[in-house]
């Protein structure tokens, strides 16, 4: 059987894209003191066959792209998802007007991968 190779340009490959989240856009500006917003990023792009090393793939994802190339209708490509995230700290007021500094995990997408 001949494999199906869709044309994927480098810009369409799975990688982090810039996303700035503004807390005022979600209506939280009156209780979050800082930051007013931050670069959260997100993952977007394709995980085509053959998966290359820079796409941070799992063995399972490599096999899935192989099957997908043979049966594109029946098996989807792996998903482009965050594989490394970093924390941020948020300074905010609580309901009693106390000031709180809290450390939050998994807030910024640093790397994406095919899973």
């Amino acid at each position: 059987r001949s494999a199906y190779y869709p044309l994927v340009t480098p810009s369409n490959l799975c990688k982090p894209r810039r996303l700035y989240i503004s807390f005022s856009d979600v209506g939280w500006e009156n209780w979050i003191i800082a930051p007013q917003g931050y670069m959260a990023n997100y993952c977007l792009g394709e995980c085509p066959f053959p998966l290359t090393a820079e796409l941070n793939s799992t063995n399972h994802a490599i096999l899935q792209t192989m099957v997908h190339s043979l049966d594109p209708e029946g098996t989807p490509q792996p998903c482009c998802v965050p594989v490394r995230l970093s924390p941020i700290s948020i300074l905010y007021y609580d309901n009693d007007d106390n000031v709180v500094l809290r450390h939050y995990e998994d807030m910024v997408v640093d790397e994406c991968g095919c899973r």
Binding site: P87, Y93, V99
Partner: protein
């Protein structure tokens, strides 16, 4: 639009839950941000992304204690005005901190009381008088300073100072940990007096010494806690 609004509201509550909040806070009279929190926030913000992974997210390096949440509680207590003024007593105040926002899963690792003055207080007495500061723990506390029958007092801190600096810090970690076991609020009594001295009393020296601490501003309680749930997940991920 109604459905979209409901969806947004649901998404918001899910996110607030993941941030450890049950509802969106609505501060009433927010005050200034304590400088210590600004300093820690700015330091973390300027850390390069690669170092953030290595830094222990569940440790507060600045205080060298485990924790991922730092709160500064404002004092809600009131001054105590006794009918019969005590000549040696310059200042007497109830301190009341509402710790009910601490969640069950949060482990308290540090509590530090700060007493602030607008400027340093020096006195030029030659009789060697000193300021004496006492801090008592009370068994119950009346929030609004209502006349309350004096509850049992336990002396926590007794210190003498030749001069009062703008900021005095006291470690109340042990007290606050014990306190959490049976109460949601922390009640204290702060007293600042001047040491006795017959010559000083006669000359009215004590009054002038007391006047020199009129720069008393306020007190606050800094509390560090560790959210067990969040930190367990973080450690598991790091091990992987």
């Amino acid at each position: 639009s109604v459905v979209l609004g409901m969806e947004l509201s649901l998404q918001e509550s899910l996110l607030l839950k993941s941030l450890g909040l049950s509802t969106k806070p609505s501060p009433k009279t927010p005050g200034p941000v304590p400088s210590v929190l600004w300093r820690i926030f700015q330091k973390r913000k300027t850390l390069p992304s690669t170092n953030k992974d290595l830094a222990d997210a569940c440790r507060v390096e600045e205080f060298n204690v485990p924790g991922n949440i730092i709160r500064v509680f404002a004092d809600q207590g009131h001054f105590i005005h006794n009918g019969q003024p005590q000549r040696l007593l310059c200042l007497q105040k109830r301190l009341y901190f509402n710790l009910s926002v601490l969640e069950e899963g949060e482990h308290l690792t540090m509590a530090q009381l700060e007493i602030k003055f607008s400027h340093n207080s020096y006195h030029t007495s030659s009789q060697g008088q000193v300021f004496e500061l006492r801090l008592y723990q009370t068994s119950q506390m009346s929030l609004r300073g209502m006349p309350s029958h004096e509850h049992s007092r336990k002396l926590l801190v007794e210190q003498s100072f030749a001069r009062l600096h703008k900021s005095l810090l006291f470690n109340l970690s042990g007290v606050a940990k014990d306190w959490r076991a049976y109460s949601r609020n922390l009640g204290l009594i702060l007293e600042i007096s001047v040491s006795d001295g017959a010559s000083a009393v006669a000359s009215g020296g004590l009054q002038s010494l007391c006047a020199s601490i009129d720069s008393f501003l306020d007190t606050s309680l800094l509390v560090v806690t560790l959210s067990q749930q969040q930190c367990k997940a973080s450690r598991r991920r790091r091990r992987r």
